[in-house]
């Protein structure tokens, strides 16, 4: 993503005044401040940089109330799964939990989005700056909004930036994020989901590849045999990035920082930790996420004393899909191939207890077949 010069971040295209919907309002109607004050410092007293966060009801919501009605349940706004997972791992001691919760809000929740931080500016988490000089963007641009935040994993996978691994097959068809991830998914639907895989409007492969289990499909027999046993990514994903550990705090000057260990590329199949009617598969691809028993140590000792309640290898839907992958070259490229599965020896000893439910024992690895 090309960085913006400081003045470019706040430059407004005069064409904005011709936007018949948004240009008819005075700047101060959304942002506050004093438009009659010639001194810029005085004019900016009480200015609100992002009037759509935390509550867009009296700005965007005045016209787009059908969308802002459910904004609190948009995972991009609420980051609710972060809280749910951290709460599960957090200490039962009230004082310790409060310290963990405050730190979570200061660090983890600062990467939220809002109406404005998708449709008007780059997200604050990547230093902001207006998109197209304040001209509202109906579809958020992929590389200055979506992958500005989802850069370490999704962007590198999807665009083929991980060494030796090609771009996702959907990228080669020129798909942008919004082709699969609809506005309905992004804006929330009023339901509070525990994780993004539960979201009813989230994309599914089958919604485009609807013939995959019928006789009309190529490899129909293979697809039918594995239906509901494996996620699509188990056969069609390439190796993807895994991150380890995350420690965070504030430095002497009061700036927030985080430290994660070096990322590693791997492909691991494990037991589905989120098996449900919507995700019935036994085996899914798992990604190691950056968390550690001591993640909150800067703020409180033993903050995540129930760390082992949630696996650190998490269900993943890597965005580097290929029709042909090393593991689907033949039946026995996967069957009996222990290296592809998450085994006990793949898990750091300090995370072993947390991952008991997703590690695949030798006798559960599908055996070789006669081809």
């Amino acid at each position: 993503m090309t960085p913006l010069a400081p003045h470019e971040k706040i430059f407004v295209d005069s064409e904005f005044a011709e936007d018949e919907n948004h240009g008819t309002m005075g700047c101060e109607e959304c942002h506050g401040g004093d438009p009659n004050e010639p001194d810029w410092q005085k004019a900016h007293i009480d200015v609100v940089k992002d009037p759509s966060y935390p509550d867009p009801s009296f700005t965007c919501g005045l016209c787009h109330d059908d969308i802002t009605e459910h904004y609190q349940t948009s995972l991009h706004y609420s980051l609710a799964p972060f809280k749910k997972v951290i709460d599960k791992r957090a200490s039962d001691d009230k004082a310790v939990y409060t310290a963990v919760n405050d730190a979570r809000e200061a660090h983890c929740t600062s990467c939220h989005s809002s109406c404005g931080q998708c449709h008007v500016s780059r997200p604050d988490a990547v230093d902001g700056g207006l998109l197209e000089s304040h001209l509202f963007q109906r579809r958020p641009p992929m590389q200055t909004v979506c992958t500005a935040c989802h850069g370490s994993r999704v962007e590198k996978e999807y665009l083929g930036k991980n060494e030796g691994i090609p771009a996702d097959v959907h990228k080669k068809k020129y798909f942008k994020c919004t082709k699969c991830h609809s506005a309905y998914e992004m804006h929330g639907d009023g339901n509070e989901y525990a994780n993004r895989y539960e979201v009813q409007n989230a994309p599914t492969c089958i919604s485009c590849h609807e013939e995959i289990y019928t006789d009309a499909a190529e490899n129909a027999e293979q697809h039918r045999q594995h239906k509901d046993r494996l996620s699509c990514q188990v056969c069609h994903s390439m190796p993807y990035k895994n991150c380890t550990s995350c420690h965070f705090g504030t430095d002497k000057q009061g700036y927030k920082f985080f430290k994660t260990q070096a990322s590693t590329m791997a492909f691991k199949i494990g037991f589905n930790p989120l098996q449900s009617e919507r995700r019935p598969e036994k085996f899914v691809t798992l990604r190691h996420v950056p968390v550690d028993q001591d993640s909150f140590k800067f703020y409180v000792e033993n903050g995540l004393s129930n760390f082992d309640r949630v696996p650190t290898w998490k269900m993943a839907t890597p965005h580097n899909i290929q029709r042909k992958t090393p593991q689907n070259e033949s039946c026995n490229a996967c069957h009996g191939n222990e290296k592809l599965f998450l085994r006990e020896q793949d898990v750091e000893p300090k995370y072993a207890a947390a991952n008991q439910t997703v590690v695949v024992p030798a006798d559960q690895i599908p055996g070789k077949v006669s081809e």
Binding site: A5, P6, H7, I10, F11, V12, D13, S14, F16, A17, E18, D19, E20, G23, T24, M25, G26, C27, E28, H31, G33, P35, N36, E37, P38, W40, A43, C111, H134, S152, K241, C243, T250, D251, Q253, Y255, K256, F257, F258, K259, T260, Q261, A262, S263, P290
Partner: protein
Amino acid sequence: MKAVRFAVVGGLIVSVCILFLAGTPPILSAQQENHCFSCHTNPRKLIQITREIARANQDKPGASIQTEGEG
């Protein structure tokens, strides 16, 4: 006849007013002496002000240098 001529002239005046006034409010609302708009659409002014701000904050790093790894 006088009444007809009066009606035609009156109608013309009203039409011209509608034609011009209907198109202007959106442009006017932002282009009136509105210092937000006049400053934020002027790159020269913005460069000058952002340089002023940068000079005032030159001792502040802007973000922690302790951050390591991918987020």
